[in-house]
Symmetry: C2
Subunit: 336 residues, 2 copies
Amino acid sequence: MSVTVKDVAREAKVSRTTVSNVFNGRAKYSEETRQAVLDAARRLGYKPNLAAKSLITNQSNLIGLILPSYVDRFTLTTSPFYNIILDGIYSILQNEPYYDLIIHSVTARGDITQVSDWIDTRNVDGILAVGEYDIRFLKELSGRAIPVVCIDNYQKSYPNFSYINSDDEAGGYLAARKLIERGFRKIAICSVSPLETSPLIRKRFEGYQRAMQEAGYPIYTLEGSGGNPFDAGRQAGERLYKEKFDAAFCTEDMLAIGVINFLLRQHVVVGENFGLVGFDNLNIGRQVHPALTSIEQKIVEKGEIATKTLLSLLKESTPLNTRLILPVELVERETA
Amino acid sequence: MSVTVKDVAREAKVSRTTVSNVFNGRAKYSEETRQAVLDAARRLGYKPNLAAKSLITNQSNLIGLILPSYVDRFTLTTSPFYNIILDGIYSILQNEPYYDLIIHSVTARGDITQVSDWIDTRNVDGILAVGEYDIRFLKELSGRAIPVVCIDNYQKSYPNFSYINSDDEAGGYLAARKLIERGFRKIAICSVSPLETSPLIRKRFEGYQRAMQEAGYPIYTLEGSGGNPFDAGRQAGERLYKEKFDAAFCTEDMLAIGVINFLLRQHVVVGENFGLVGFDNLNIGRQVHPALTSIEQKIVEKGEIATKTLLSLLKESTPLNTRLILPVELVERETA
DNA sequence: CTGAAAGCGCTTACAG
DNA sequence: CTGAAAGCGCTTACAG
C-alpha cells in the first residue's frame, strides 16, 4: 500500500542501495542519478518509514525529555518555567523535521525501571533532563550509552552528561545586594521548599548569603514545605508581615507573587516600605501590581541550547560532559 | 546485544509465536506456559522493541498532538491554556506505558505537507488537535485513516473527527448576566483578536449578546488585533477608561489581567466602580489584586477526556464523530 | 495449544 | 559508482 524504497528504486531504475544512500546523503553519486532518485521519490510520494529505519540503525530520532513531577501530576500547570523550556526546545526542533520529542515525568523517588523501559522500548537516542532527581535514577541514566543534557542540575557529574545552568549564585547575590542598596536591613530569603532539598535553590541562597555577609547583616531563612508556590508565598507573606521584615528575596517569581498578594491585603506598600525581589523574571511579574523586580534568567535559551547541544551530540559526537553557565541580570521594576 | 523474542523463546522452551502471543495477551495459553514465558522474559530482562512491532503492525503507539502557533513560536509561554491541556493529556498517558505523545505546532496557514509527512513517517496512530485551523489543513487531516479528537474546534465537522468543547455560549451569557445584575450598563466585550477570526470566541460573543439583548442593553465590541494578550488587555483598558465604560467581559483571563493592570494605574477601583469578568478561571486570576471573577471551564478535564476518547478509539474503535460539551460556571471573586 | 516460515521497510557490508 | 543479499526484531497466517 505505501511507497517503499523498492518502488522508488524501480521507478528511478536504480538499486535500493542507491535510493537509501541518496536519501541519507551518503556516497557521492552523479548528479544525474541523484536527481533521478529524488524525482522518482517525489512522483511516487515516497516517505521513509522511521520505524524500519530505526530497526536497522538502532536509532529512533526520538529525544526523551524528563521532567520532575514535584508537586502533583500537574507539573506544567504549576510552574510556567517548564513551558518556557518546552518552547525553547520546540523552537529548535521545529527545524529538525525528523526529530521528535517524547516526554516522561519522574517523581521524586524516581521511577527507575519505568523510565529505563521507556528508553529501551522506544530506543530513545538522547535525553534532556530538567531539574534534579534521585541519585540512583541519575546513576541508572548514566549507565546507558546515550548522551544526557541536564538543565538546572547541580548534582554529581557523570561522564556522559552535559550541563546547562544559570548563574544562580550570582542571581542570589544581585537580589540581596539590590535590597541592601535600597536601604533595607532585615532581609529574608523565602523558598517554596526547604533549602537543603535542592542544590539549585541552595546556590541562590549562597549568593544571598554572600551579599548579606559582606554587608554585615544577619541571614533569615523562611522555608516553605513544598506545594503550590502561590500558597507558599501567602504563608511567607504572613510571616514577613508578623515578624516585621523589611524585605525579602524570593527564590522564584510565583512565590513572590503570593507574597505581594498577602502584603497588599495588609496595606503594605510593596516597593516603598517593603522590598521584594523574585527570580526568573516571568512575564506575569510585569502584570501584577506593583510590578515585580526580579532576577532574569534566560529560560528559553536554556531550552534552545540544551536541544542544540544534544542534537550535535547525536549528529557529530561533540565533546561530552561540558558545563555551561548562563549569566543572570537584575530587572528593576516597582517592588525594589 | 539486546534480548529478543527469540532469546525468550529459547529460555522458556517455547516458540517465538507463543512469546509474542503471551505478551500481547492473545490466545489463551495454559497458565503454565504463560508463566514460563513471563518468567523467562523477566530473567533475561526482555523489553519489546516498539520499532519492530510498529513495522509489522503498522501502528506506532504514538499519539500526535497538534497545537496552533498563533502569536509566534512561543505558544506555550504565551498561553497557560495549552499547558493545562498538556497536563490533562499526560495525567492519562502516564498510565499507558506504551503510548507516547509527539507534538507538532501548526501555523495559521497550516503547514499541510509538513504535518502530513510527520504523520506518515512516524506512523502516528491518532491525533489530538487543539484549537482552530486552516480549513484545507483539516480537510487533509480528515483524509487520513486515523482518528482525530478536536478540542475547542467549532469548525466544519468531519466523519473521523470527535469534538470536545466547553459551553462557550453559556459562558458568555453568564459573564454578561453577572455584570448586568451588578448594575453595570455600558458593558463591552473585549477580545485579543477580531471576533470573526475564531468561531470559538464568536460563541462567547453570542452568549454575551444574548444576555445584553435580554436586558435591552447595547452591544459594544472592543476587538484587539492579536498578539500578546497582556498588551491587548492594556490597550483595551485604555479604551474602556477613555470611553467611560462601566464594565467588560474579557474573552480570556490573560486579557482581563492586562485590563486590571491598566485601570489600576488610573486609580479605577475594579470591582466597585468598574466590573470585570474573565474566561478560563486560571490560577493566576486568584493571585492578582483585585482577584478576578471569571468563567471557569474544565481545561484539565478537556485534555483528559480527549486523551481517553482517542485511546478508546484506538483500542476498541468506539464510535467516531461524537461531540461533547462541558459545562462552565461563574466563579465570583472581587472584580464583579 | 504450538512451531516453522514469511515478511514489514529499511540499511549495510560485500562483491563487482 | 552500483546491485544482490542478509538481517534488524517483531507478528501473523498457516499447518500440525
